[in-house]
């Protein structure tokens, strides 16, 4: 398959505007601005079937369509580059290697929704990426792709970087807006949805880096072309961030619907050191774990949902037979406790209780009743909070108990892991 987003990813200076242009970049922009009305672009993206790549998989065109047409308020476009779901590292690569592909998408999206101000909210740790974007934005202003009257079209857009401060919850769209507003980044209750009441109380669209990076290609080749790639309801390609116990970890751009088996064995080179596969987290740590017998599952939004998991961000974490699933779940519980913003009591207290109980099981002090206690706590957290962080915190616990209950029981009875990871840092 021909790559779309990663076509030029190995070109050393693809991040420079001249190279990007030489390789076909900034051809979609004049086409979008001069040959299409914003409504036509929204229709084209709806037709493409492009679904949000940040994790939720919401149809991008539909999201744009929610922006009220008659609102006199200024509109904002936000690019969510707060990539923080453990296991995910695709946006970082897109930003560092091909920043103009993203910026071209941002300008197109801003035009489609009528926004004259856009921000890229990038996680604070991504210093290199932020600098690269700053340079790329500077190049765009010089060339007239940003600023007033872009390419003589009469459309104005100002784009700037907003750097985060190490809070996972800011990847949640309403937290992200609170963060830019300079408040403590606690999520907002929805509705109202950002499309109507978003940044500074104005209509706002928030799209992920990978979603926006697809736009120039959809404009150039048409919505039907994109809809023909991948799966009928999960169109296009997806960048899978493959990590863990595979021979060749990395980002792989493959058609939606590729099997987990192909991803791990053909692209990832199989399991390290000839060991056996034990489990896979297919979409970042907040998605349900799959067992080794699920490798035939197709990697797309609907197929993974039917298989009892989620595509999430496409972060595929592969674990071999030496991995203790209780240890994995415990580590994830520490993450969610740390990242809970504290706004909702079930999440604030619940993530701490989960971590405490997981910790005592992991450290040989678990009690027989702990498994049911964990399940009870999880049932009282899920669906009872403002944002989905808590739902994500529950999933690794409930899904590892469901699939690997024997390991929890072993841990509690024998006060140790069933298996040992061994020395991995050499």
């Amino acid at each position: 398959m021909e790559k779309i987003l990663f076509k030029h990813i190995d070109v050393p200076d693809q991040y420079r505007i001249d190279t990007y242009i030489k390789n076909g970049g900034y051809r979609a922009l004049p086409k979008a601005l001069k040959e299409h009305s914003p409504d036509e672009l929204i229709e084209m993206v709806k037709k493409s079937g492009l679904r949000g790549r940040g994790g939720a998989g919401f149809p991008a065109g539909m999201k744009w369509g929610f922006v009220p047409k008659d609102s006199p308020k200024p509109r904002f476009l936000l690019c969510n580059a707060d990539e923080g779901e453990p296991g995910t590292f695709k946006d970082r690569t897109l930003i560092e290697k091909d920043p103009h592909q993203l910026i071209e998408g941002i300008i197109i999206a801003a035009y489609a929704i009528g926004a004259h101000r856009a921000f890229i909210y990038i996680r604070g740790e991504f210093c290199f990426g932020a600098n690269r974007l700053e340079e790329a934005i500077g190049e765009c202003y010089q060339k007239g792709y940003l600023g007033k009257n872009i390419l003589g079209s009469g459309f104005d857009l100002d784009l700037s970087i907003y750097r985060g401060g190490g809070a996972y919850v800011c990847g949640e769209e309403t937290s992200l807006m609170e963060s830019i507003e300079g408040n403590r980044a606690n999520p907002r209750l929805k509705p109202p949805f950002p499309a109507a009441v978003g940044l500074y109380q104005n209509p706002t669209v928030i799209n992920n880096v990978e979603t926006l990076s697809n736009l120039s290609h959809i404009i150039l080749n048409g919505g039907d072309w994109y809809a023909g790639l991948g799966m009928p309801k999960s169109t296009g390609t997806k960048i899978f961030s493959l990590s863990g116990h595979v021979n060749k970890p990395g980002n792989y751009e493959l058609p939606m619907g590729v099997t987990l088996k192909e991803l791990i064995y053909e692209h990832g080179g199989g399991i390290k050191d000839g060991r056996n596969l034990k489990a896979v987290i297919p979409g970042g740590v907040s998605t349900p774990v799959l067992t080794a017998d699920s490798v035939d599952v197709k990697m797309d939004f609907d197929s993974l949902y039917e298989a009892g998991s989620l595509l999430g961000s496409g972060a595929t974490i592969v674990m071999d037979e030496t991995t203790c699933m209780v240890k994995v779940a415990y580590r994830i519980s520490k993450f969610f406790e740390h990242e809970s913003c504290g706004k909702c009591v079930p999440c604030r207290e619940g993530t701490r209780w989960i971590r405490q109980i997981m910790g005592r099981i992991e450290n040989g002090k678990g009690r027989e009743e702990d498994i049911e206690l964990l399940r009870d706590i999880c049932a009282n957290i899920a669906g009872k909070t403002v944002c989905p962080l808590a739902d994500g915190a529950v999933v690794p616990i409930t899904s590892t108990i469901e699939k690997f209950r024997d390991e929890y029981e072993y841990h509690i009875r024998n006060k140790k892991c069933m298996v040992d990871l061994g020395q991995r840092f050499v």
């Binding site: 923080g84 995910t88 970082r92 401060g165 830019i180």
Partner: protein, 159 residues
């Protein structure tokens, strides 16, 4: 205390956003770049320049973990031990650094050179295990690489 350049850069952030408070995080990034840490004085200065109260700045800042306080070492080593790094020996990397530096996570070496912090996912899972030192990522770490990096930093060289 903030340098003239830092003060100027923060002042330039004023008026860039529809709300004054939006400039807090960008200002803290300036503080981090120019000073490397913050303390009560810098917060007061940031608040004064932005026309906010010190409490407003502190309120927002305390939500975030990325900005180190005064007392942080010259080299702030942040180690990821989240799942992908853990599977690649992230916890063993942590133990190795603790041993090499003679400090525990959360501490600073007596010479003020290194601070060790355990952090959540750095978004570098395909090149695990990974650590961030100040602004820079160090990936696919091995014992030999860590030795080399620490030796270079001790001599004040960037690597």
């Amino acid at each position: 205390m903030l340098s003239e350049t830092a003060q100027k850069r923060i002042a330039e952030l004023k008026g860039k956003f529809p709300k004054k408070r939006s400039a807090i995080l960008p200002a803290m990034h300036v503080v981090l770049e120019e000073v490397g840490f913050y303390n009560r004085d810098t917060l007061e200065q940031v608040a004064d320049i932005l026309g906010l109260s010190e409490m407003e700045v502190a309120e927002t800042l305390s939500f975030y973990t990325y900005f180190p306080k005064e007392g942080v070492g010259k080299y702030h080593i942040q180690i990821c031990t989240n799942v992908s790094c853990m599977l690649a020996g992230g916890e063993q990397l942590k133990a190795y650094l603790e041993e090499k530096l003679g400090i525990k996570v959360g501490q600073t070496t007596p010479d003020g050179l290194f601070t060790l912090t355990e952090v959540e996912c750095l978004g570098s899972c395909g090149t695990a295990p990974v650590m961030q030192i100040n602004q820079k990522y160090y990936e696919n770490l091995t014992r030999a690489k860590v030795d080399e990096i620490l030796a270079a930093l001790r001599e004040g060289k960037e690597i």
